[in-house]
Subunit: 173 residues, 2 copies
């Protein structure tokens, strides 16, 4: 079957899914799927934020952020944190989530999330589209005992998903 | 259950999965999971390449790349393209893949992949870790009729996965 030419945006739409994360800065929470690995050494991740979001202001001001990986069971809280603005809502309270002090950053993490990464901004990507990307070096990590990747939540443009079944596993040396 | 402090790299390891893509430049193919959305407008994606890889040289020289999304059925070809170097191997031949001319870029795409994006490099992220990230604006898109996100292949540090089941779908307006 041959491929058909499509509009440029359809290429973005065709992407399967990205890890869904809860970005915390100070006492605010934002749901984001514009999230990626950046580097093994130094260990860095990156997150893309729309400039009109409160989180953009907060990250710019504080130079730090928490990345909290929710589990599938937290879908409702995740949807709430993605649908209201921190300018008018205390999302910790409204979503029933517990703020937990970081070990390194002054922003709060989310106690209920199985994984939390404390990140210091080391770079802001100067090329801007709809999102501004911040690279954060991971300075501290907290993980609940027994956490497996399979617990995480994925998302892309309208579809919340679990993580798929492993179809092949490389034996670790 | 409380969270335990972990080493910084464990934060990278805990990430669930990212879309696995085949990056094509000229007649070479590289398997990459360091791949992300970048922007809706302009429509851009980004890919992280280790500087020692042939693909790094090729992207730097040509200023373009193809992003080809393989399907689960292409696992063997994907693994091959991620395990040998294009310096010594013609990966199209060895993996049994068909080079397909792009409409806009001069590099080849992969005919068998259900989705191919033709990207022009618009930015190279100056902050470097283990990977160098190239932002590419999507200039042309080809998608096979009937393609669904569920066909895609995901990967992270040793685990190849399908895309997970949809647990909630937002109604499109």
């Amino acid at each position: 079957m041959t491929k058909l030419e499509k509009k440029r945006f359809d290429g973005i739409y065709a992407l399967p899914a990205f890890p869904l994360v809860l970005v915390t800065v100070e006492r605010n929470i934002m749901t984001a799927a514009a999230f990626s690995f950046f580097s093994f050494d130094p260990p860095c991740v990156m997150v893309g934020i729309r400039p009109e979001n409160l989180t953009f202001e907060l990250i710019t001001e504080k130079g730090e952020f928490g990345i909290n990986l929710p589990s599938k069971e937290q879908l409702e809280a995740v949807r709430l944190c993605g649908s209201v603005s921190g300018r008018s809502t205390n999302k910790f309270v409204q979503a029933g989530l517990t703020p937990q002090k970081g070990n390194v950053i002054s922003s709060f993490l989310i106690a209920e999330c199985p994984v939390s990464l404390e990140c210091r901004v080391v770079h802001q990507v100067p090329f801007r589209g709809s999102h501004v990307w911040f690279v954060g070096e991971i300075e501290a990590v907290q993980i609940k005992e027994g956490y497996q990747r399979d617990q995480a939540l994925m998302y892309w443009l309208g579809e919340y998903r679990g993580v798929g079944e492993v179809v092949f596993r490389v034996e670790r040396k």
